[in-house]
Subunit: 341 residues, 6 copies
């Protein structure tokens, strides 16, 4: 049964050089609008849920364009405030082979989202209208105002009985100026205390939460199976999920998802696939887990669905997943197909 869900997060403008040229070679950019919350809510609305973004956009033509784009993605924009002056942006140059893709950011600190005054969002009312709300560690990295808003909103959701979903999404570059892991830890812990569903893996446990392996383990899977249950219990988290991902020599990616629920780990197959658009595919995995949880799938099915959704997101242009539930199920069931007439 479809649920009503929201995400709290910033909308970024993505400005991408077409093809494989550099910014210093081209004169054209394609633009779209994304963000972790945008991606998750768009995917969930493709899966049939009613999805809102709670955010803030400038009241100018860039804000208008962002709002129009979000509506096109199926996101209800009626909870988006208009105010402030700027939109966060990033420029993307596509890599090729040994040459990596490059991302160059504009100043996000000045964005409408990151300069929202305290109290400007009606969190109490919005929390009451939602079955679940998604939060992300990227927002936590922004500034004190964003952190205060995020915790207040999550607290309201918890209080009013909604699911709190938290994606750790620790980006070292964003925390560096503040002192990194040490500064981040209490903020992450505050969110973990409130969260029902958390996206993380053993790296977050080791570095962000400062956990260590009692058994001195080194292997990622072993560390995962040791640390995640400890973290889940410590913070009272019902469901923890995440992925292990690697980049193969021939340029393809491999992805394996896990879910820890009811004291038990379930894993997806190791999926190996070529990648068309790298950005934002982690959000598709998260959306798949959330959908499985909202719909009451068995954990095995949830993690298989999420991994397939993540893989499909790599085949689509742009940050935002575009697959319907039927398309994800078909990708789970079938191998490579030719033309679909």
């Amino acid at each position: 049964m479809p649920k009503t869900v929201a995400a709290f997060g910033e909308v970024m403008m993505r400005l991408q050089v077409p093809g494989h040229e550099l910014l210093a070679q081209s004169d054209t950019l394609k633009y779209s609008f994304s963000g972790t919350g945008v991606n998750v809510i768009s995917a969930l609305s493709q899966f049939g849920h009613k999805g809102y973004l709670v955010s803030r956009l400038p009241d100018n033509p860039l804000g208008d364009a962002a709002a129009a784009y979000l509506r096109k993605l199926g996101i209800d924009t009626s909870k988006i405030l208009r105010g402030g002056s700027y939109l966060g942006m990033y420029f993307l140059e596509n890599g090729f082979g040994i040459r990596p893709s490059r991302v160059t950011y504009s100043n996000r600190q000045e964005s409408s989202f990151n300069t929202a005054p305290d109290g400007v969002y009606p969190f109490e009312q919005t929390a009451g209208e939602m079955d679940a709300v998604h939060f992300c560690g990227i927002t936590l990295a922004m500034n004190d105002g964003a952190r205060r808003s995020m915790k207040e909103f999550a607290g309201q959701v918890k209080t009013q009985g909604g699911l709190v979903i938290f994606d750790c999404n620790y980006r070292p570059g964003l925390w560096a100026a503040n002192g990194g892991y040490a500064f981040a830890k209490p903020h992450y812990e505050a969110m973990l205390e409130l969260a029902d569903i958390v996206f993380m893996n053993e790296q977050d446990a080791l570095h962000v939460l400062g956990m260590t392996s009692a058994a001195g383990k080194q292997e990622r899977e072993e560390l995962l199976e040791e640390l995640i249950p400890v973290a889940a219990e410590r913070y009272g988290v019902r469901t923890v999920a995440g992925t292990h991902r690697s980049l193969l020599e021939d340029g393809r990616h491999s992805l394996r998802g896990y879910i820890y629920r009811d004291g038990r780990f379930s894993y997806s197959d190791v999926l190996v696939f070529p990648v068309h658009d790298r950005i934002g595919a982690g959000d598709a995995f998260a959306s798949g887990i959330i959908h499985g949880e909202l719909e009451g799938f068995a954990p095995e099915r949830t993690v298989a669905f999420a991994a397939a959704a993540g893989m499909l997101a790599h085949t689509v242009t742009g940050d935002t997943p575009m697959a319907s539930e039927a398309e994800v199920l078909r990708a789970m069931a079938q191998g490579l197909r030719d033309v679909e007439r």
Copy 2:
């Protein structure tokens, strides 16, 4: 020595989303015009023959654009009638990796070709001018009028001593509404009775013609070698040819062509290659077989030429093969080359 050849069939407008975006993401389409007959005759004119399309286009800007495009492909458009109101169209979204390409059709039943009144084509005269005429099972699937026209034209060609070429090309989706194989069989049999050169494989024999393996065979090659000679004899067909094709794990295609002529099978090598544009490549194989037959190649050379032509067609943008005879011969002789200066 160059021959004069024609094909009877519909011209479709192909509307393709550039790159890998979906129709719901893009705002731009590239268009071209194709169809089995278009592809075969264009390829044969690249091989040096004089080629006509016998078809019907609307007398409006879309029909003008289609005719101009066919002329550009080297097709003589003087046998194309103008009348009716619409052009068949299909939209193509390119897949990537696990995400298949998608084709969405407009209503072909209302097209100028599929609404041509009986008697509107001067088949008797045209048949007298051609050395060979190509027909396709897709036309057979359209409606009673198209089937009547097709049989009448093929009969005239036969009567006047031209070669009748028939590509079975059974598309389940097109016959579904009419009852599928059972409905199709007598129409196919009527064409097979008239045909000198037929494109089919063991699947057509099993399903369309309802044949069965006396020996209870299962393997595709065994079935092929058992059933095709029976069919050739039953319907009095001089030459039968076709391909086995598969999609490899790494996204490449494999293709092996066969020809059955003078009671003997000849096979091409199994070719393995990456694919740039999937649509219409079967028609390039057919053109290669027809060219070999018209030029009197040995069957081994014919099928090798046809397989190379098919492989090259996958490397070219659009439905329509663009390789000259010299380019096909070079692809047969050489392996991968770098830049040709």
Copy 3:
């Protein structure tokens, strides 16, 4: 105060050759989705109202693309049914100077909208949720099913106390096959009986309704002032509005709007302006009238607002008006401006 409004009508795919090339010269199309209802509701949602489209789209990638596009325009798509197989389309080649723009249609009769079965729309429920619903003479021209649905929906709106808005929009080409004016008249009269706000001018009165000038008048303005009051009274219409438009020698257009309300005519200034995109600008005028009526503007202000909205719609790419209420008011207040920083 914002109202809740809907339109009932078909969504068309517009496929436009970029620049000034012909279909026979180019290989690229830009696409968007429009229709009278789409345009009117999009404009009203720009003016601050909550707007729905009541329509039917195919459940395929074209239907998905259309729905995404309508959402981008600010239209709530939750009243749009999915079913049927095809989308109406038109191709647009831009004219230049003496060379007129050309529109080529695909077969609309087969569209999802025009093949909707009786009873498939929940008109009674939808009518109850709307303050006003917009209908258009183009839908009336389609077929018996579309006419039945339209009258049923309009009747439900009337019964439940909503405003019925009807734009006569008589297109000779669409009625020609059925016998033209004589066939159309009773259908128009049925809608006029139900309507509160009607868009028409003296040409509709003369030709569609078969009225004549008692006084033998010839001038457009005189005929308008004689016939419109008679029609308004005969069919019980509260408000009648429309435009006189002409094409000047230098390529600019002139536009003058009128409104007849409470027994009195009000006119806008004669606006003269260059035109960037001709299609759909009449719908912007209609939206301006509807907005004025919904907001209770004085008739003089309503018609001035509507004319300015119509003029602005000619400056925007695509069929669909993009101006906010503030932008229309600014255009009313100011003359030409340079750059807005």
Copy 4:
């Protein structure tokens, strides 16, 4: 009744910067293929005649592209030889307002056409198949080989009873290196002796042919009416036609055509119109005159048709006229129209 016509002339590749950027600003070019002969024959085939180009193209991908493009325009390419190494090219930067368009040529002298060996064209045979053949003063400016070929072909046409059409088209820049008018005159006179229909005006008579006004006249129209009859008689030319063209202050062009036939001048109206693409429009006027002459129109109708064809050619992208006879007739009959549905 449709005739069989040919033109003898070079095919040029046109490489145009899109929009209004300079070569030093852009990185993209649109390309097409044209030439006086290409333009005239394409226009005549649009008017229903069977049209050939007699020319020579390199046997490489540029030559293939040129031939495909000419076929798309409706030109029969079976009289085009393949050989030599290069294609003439010109780059076009669009002007705006006071900034003129700029044309930059590559080296035409090395083109396949301009390096054709003597005797390579089967002129005698081709002349026998044509009702009329078009020649152009641009070819006369190229080199000795081109001049010899041109005169030989024109002589053969004359001998075998076809119409010889000659467009003076004196381009000062092309003759400058050879000594200009003095060098050109005998070559022009040789062609005029052979010609039945000639395009020229009083400037050609004064400068190329060195004629002077007996009456000391200065006005263009007076000079025209004095000199053209003298020239027609001196060289035995049946029909002379041409245009007076000027560039108005507001950027529009004005065009008036004349025809001198049977000892009598006829003029078109002075047409005033905006210009979308300037290049090649003179060839459309010529095509209109030739069409009228081939079809036996009255001179008044011929010149009106030709002027309208010339005006329409300014509204179309590219060097080559795209209007059908029906479209030219409609432009003669009607004023500005809006959208044509």
Copy 5:
């Protein structure tokens, strides 16, 4: 004789929606890099001078792209520092007719230029290498650091005997937050004290400098002739120049330049012309004045040259003038021309 000149100012990234679409309609941007200093120095290097920009760009792919673009414009980038994190940006939506163009800025305050630390530029050394340096009121509006740098650099130039050029360029929006005219006045006066050549008109005198008409004059020309000599004397400015510009009903612009030098006013003709790209054309006028002053033109010739340069800049895509001295002279000498071959 060519001079060595520099400008001190910010480089902005211009992101323009192609055609006439809005940001909410399109998905593509064209980008370039400009700024008053960029435009002036690029124009002067087109006129044959050696030109430097003194500025600061981020050391990331955006900074690389900007530097490459400036080099393409002919600007020597060896005086540009790399440091800071961001580039100022603005988005441009092209207007049409009554719909004005819209400019939306990103946060310039955070740009590399506007966050340059005191003392980071080697002004003393650079000043010694230049014949003239251009400064702009836009930089003055930025922040205290930019104002300090600007005055220090101008002081060094003055001290070392170079020409100080100052364009008042008062943009109300940029000063609004600081208190507008009152806040700006002392900063403007400081620059005027240092300047040899100043761009301003009577509006600047009235509003920025708070001057009033002793004679109570109202007409722009009268005010200009009264106030400019007073200002020139008060601040010791050798040359003052500027334009009066207006937007005509038919969309064309009119421009008249003036120069005040040696106690005497000279005016250009009133030029009337259509506009292709509005942004940055004022800088072309300034460049023409500077060129005339550097080359020792008579004032009449200088102002005519500058006005023609300004008019030509409106015909070129982008902010930056592209005309050579020869092209400006040709525009002064000739009227409209057709194609330049």
Copy 6:
């Protein structure tokens, strides 16, 4: 420490069909400007050196565009002469899989570079300003004038103590008309006598220099190790370097670089990588060797740097390398990376 370097060579215009279409299918070209000297100097200026091109461009819009493009690449164009009429051009159609890329040239012999009169370049002065100058065998193939200029310039560099760098770059097609290897040999020997650093491998030694294996060796590596030391000694060359390159079955390339210096061979790893743009990558290898030699790297480091630079050049659009020294070092140090934020 950065050096001052130059290259002597022709600038070519590259006109590339976008995507994978043929010239006969597309209507759009992307253009850029390149050449061996352009590529080498651009790469060296990316590595921090001051780089000049010594060449000749036409004084027309194509020459302006070429010069602007070279400046954008970081090349100082102040040593480029303007004169002559034409620019060399080549058209590039991208291959796919078995279909090779195709290059079609215009007539280079007529280019400004290849028609430069003797004595037009101030070689003596320029040679005195450079630490090193790069020459290429392609120039040697052009004509007597180009050969004379090249030898004169190289002689001046040698005399004045600069490094002479010579890339053998023997292109059979360019020498074919003159008699091939036999004709070329003395010209190559003249350059080798002057050179300090030479790019060649065993194929050049065998064919161009007519050397043979004393030991009757066949393997490429063995031949290389036997012949290169002999050649280095014979012509007095300090450093010889080159690559072995092959095209793998799966479409990837393999590349191994060598350097012979101080009587010792050093090799890079065999690098295997996918290729985005094949043209011009050899020049990136050469630039890496030159950079190592100018900076005094150990030979092992030089050849590893050069091979990585060559590999990176295959990942970038266009003929010209775009990697900075830091990017090459990163590619040497790391394997495949994902996104660089």
